[in-house]
Symmetry: C2
Subunit: 520 residues, 2 copies
């Protein structure tokens, strides 16, 4: 295994009148042998502690070298081999930060933890935070505060992870950060102003790795901080992580990667070519719009089914807790079930006077709502409802998703049936049932074995970056090779979007496995 | 000319929906073309100011790249080409700091200035300062204070030099520091404890270049700071500067470099081999011991001659001011003159009752003293004297110097007559009269055209480093190639030293051009 950070055993002769090499020069001379003649650079603030540690250890022990892209950096020295040399992989999500502690020597994942993004108080969505960044808050800017909050969240995670393995955050020698482009800007304290304004230009897509002390991170002061590169404002490092974690960039056959969230990001390609696009899918898929929608968490209905005859609902909540709401994957199951049970029509509209909905359809001031869980089964004192408004939002989201997939494959002259594999990434991707998504016409009608759920591939990519030196080059290659299509100004996408606002589609021959429930 | 710091004209297309490259990535992409495919690294704290300047300039202008040994660093951007891109070369002397402002684009020296080393209050000599470094002064260490003082002196110089060309210190993009090993430790704030304790080991001989902000220098925050490498405690970067400034390392024929001060440092060699040694020559040569001794400065007698018949003295003072003392070169002229006028004998002792000394020899409580300048010609109200004690000190110094030269040449099997050229460096070397030094038996009896006076070659080497990229490699090569002989433990040196304590030498056949004034 090739790691970003390595440990080299050092044994040298003690200095003498006959060999008056300087302490640090003595140590570096040994390392040059390990490093194929390359001279490791000692960052200025490491000169004194390194020379001191080397001398105190009697000129033998273990040197820590961090392999920066510009060359190796010698950053620490231990008399005894440390039990573990750890790095932290971080998925910098808009709502949650998820991190793992990685043993850099064995590549083993030691611990995982997550915290809520401390920036939430300044805006639930990215756009609100970009606007907040430009405001003045006393003597600080909004950007200062957003940066502080994300630093706090990272420090909380670092402390928790380190404590679990009886280490201190200062022993963390590397941090790899994977997040969307805006979160990367907040982390780097860069002005996000132009990210949401045409032509949507980041300050930087591929920042050079730097040291923890540059940013004031409470890790090892010389810990390498690597931010996964992004392709543009709407295609971030979390996606590059997804590409390397799925191995899409090395596949012989053409595959697809879908990351579903408020934005849907899609990559199609193989080891020879890669094409990407991103488009707004709407917040419905993250449970952000449905009145009873909620993010995946205890009590969220993550899966359900409806018996087409009786209309009886079976549901599962996360953690088996009393139902409190519906998360994205639950909404998809539910709407697919409503369609198969003929409770909604191909436009996603509730049908009146259906026997299966007896007692389950309520008239509300903004339209009909379906009782998913009656009040007595929840611990909210009210029922969990799915309203017509919620379904309409999902219809737009699923239409956007399918249109994105159809547009991008069409642009490269690939049919869905040419796809060897479709990787579904993201927290949402982990729970989604591909079959129900196909019924809705959100995902193409392909055999279920084509679909592979990746889980948090943003985190997985960051973990790989820490433990596999070849991933750096792969990331660089992906960034160079990938062609990004801007869908916001794409005419074909707009046309396809109109055709996709039906279940499963206006052209139902595209979905042969889905029963057609249109007017007969 | 190849410079450490370069300016590249940049012209890019403005970002658009069809080309959503990040601002910094756009700039770097152009530079990669200039840099033979190498990716310039942007130091973390330069990301925001660079991206801002690039955007403000309408995506065209001039990029500043610093060529670090690890690779190019992109550090600044200007809409208009700056009139000059300047660097500062610095000779970090024990008593004085001398600096020049260099135009990095043309290689021209714009200005020179000098200040007294602010550390003098903590000890005139290096050893006293090393001891002071280990003391506690309130909440600071002596090292903290020594470092602060030298930083203050550098800031004073930077401000003066910059103001003279209507710039600000923050516009200085590079600093090359050349000094002895201890001064380099004080500058880098490294513990000098082991420098003066057997086996005399530096913390570091070849520190990696770093950025001005790492050390808190008030220059451009990303200015490269380059410290000339040293070979050991007694052979510093000032000597490496001397070697590259003289070109000794590139000579076909064997040459010698002598830097005379409290320590005498000597290098012999050519483009194929280099050997070096250093030895204590005593402070006599820097005017540090003679009661009337003084460093070169206004009123110091820098040259003088004595008419052998009449005993009449002719002298010149620096700046033509009334005599106030004698500097090193004056002491050499004077003692040589005293010898040629038979006022002192071959042991350097005053002879009694010589007619030429009438009224010029005073009996003092520690022995005889010679009136160089009578009280009425000075503005001190007292005469300028040279005492027997002073001459004895010079005798030891000149003996040490000759023994060092004889030992090192003998060790490599080279005779003095094989030397194509002898470079005499150091502030002292600029003023010394080689002929009088030969009379004393301090320098070998060779034709005067063999001797070349270099002036401040420590500063000259630093200037070269800033303006000639090949000098880096030459310095690295010199450090690798040079063999250092420790004279403090050398038996041959001790034997030669005894034989050299006469004028010109016990073996006067070594000095055929010098009249033998021994007992007849």
């Amino acid at each position: 295994m090739q790691s970003l950070v390595k440990l080299y055993p050092i044994e040298t002769r003690e200095p003498s009148l006959g060999d008056n090499t300087g302490d640090l020069d003595r140590l570096k001379k040994v390392l040059v042998g390990y490093l194929q003649g390359r001279n490791p650079v000692v960052p200025f603030h490491r000169i004194a502690p390194l020379a001191e540690a080397f001398r105190q250890s009697g000129f033998k022990g273990f040197a820590v070298v961090i392999h920066h892209p510009g060359g190796p950096q010698l950053v620490d020295f231990f008399a005894q081999a440390p039990e573990a040399l750890v790095g932290m992989a971080l998925d910098l999500g808009t709502t949650h930060l998820e991190a793992s502690l990685v043993d850099l020597l064995s590549g083993k994942i030691l611990e995982r933890a997550a915290v809520e993004n401390g920036q939430l108080e300044f805006g639930a969505d990215i756009l609100a935070r970009i606007h907040f960044a430009a405001t003045k808050v006393g003597r600080q800017t909004g950007l200062d505060l957003l940066h502080e909050r994300v630093m706090d969240s990272i420090h909380t995670l670092a402390l928790e992870l380190a404590e679990r393995v009886r280490l201190k955050p200062v022993q963390i020698m590397a941090l790899c950060v994977s997040g969307n482009t805006t979160m990367a800007h907040f982390f780097l304290k860069q002005n996000p102003y132009h990210l949401c304004r045409e032509p949507y230009i980041p300050v930087v897509n591929s920042p050079d790795p730097f040291s923890a002390s540059d940013l004031g991170l409470d890790l090892h002061p010389a810990a390498i901080v690597w931010v996964m590169p992004s392709i543009g404002s709407y295609f971030g490092g979390d996606l590059i992580s997804g590409i390397v974690a799925s191995g899409l960039d090395q596949e012989e056959e053409t595959c697809m990667l879908i990351d579903v969230g408020t934005n849907a990001e899609v990559v199609v390609g193989n080891r020879d070519w890669l094409i990407a696009c991103a488009g707004a899918a709407g917040p419905a898929l993250e449970g952000g719009v449905a009145r009873m929608g909620m993010r995946a968490g205890p009590g969220a209905i993550e899966h359900c089914s409806i018996d087409p005859e009786s209309g009886k609902i079976d549901y599962q909540t996360i953690g088996g807790a009393p139902a409190r709401g519906i998360c994205g994957s639950g909404v998809i199951d539910l709407v697919a079930g409503l369609y198969l049970a003929r409770i909604i029509d191909i436009r996603g509209k509730f049908k009146a006077n259906q026997p299966q909905t007896e007692g389950r359809l309520l008239e509300q001031k903004d339209g009909l709502a379906y009782v998913v869980v009656p009040a007595e089964e929840t611990d909210l004192g009210e029922p969990v409802l799915l309203s017509q408004v919620d379904i309409d939002a999902l219809m737009r989201s699923k239409a956007a998703m399918y249109s994105i997939l159809a547009t991008i494959t069409n642009q490269v002259g690939v049919s869905f049936h040419d796809l060897h594999r479709i990787y579904v990434a993201g927290a949402f991707g982990k729970h989604i049932s591909p079959r129900q998504a196909i019924v809705l016409g959100m995902l193409p009608d392909l055999p279920l074995e084509v679909y592979t759920q990746l889980g948090n591939s943003s985190l997985a990519g960051a973990e790989l970056m820490l433990t596999d030196e070849t991933v750096r080059k792969r990331c660089r290659d992906v960034v160079c090779r990938i062609t990004y299509i801007e869908l916001n100004v794409n005419q074909e996408f707009m046309i396809r979007f109109s055709g996709s606002r039906f279940i499963p589609h206006t052209d139902h021959t595209l979905f042969p496995s889905v029963p057609f429930q249109g007017e007969s």
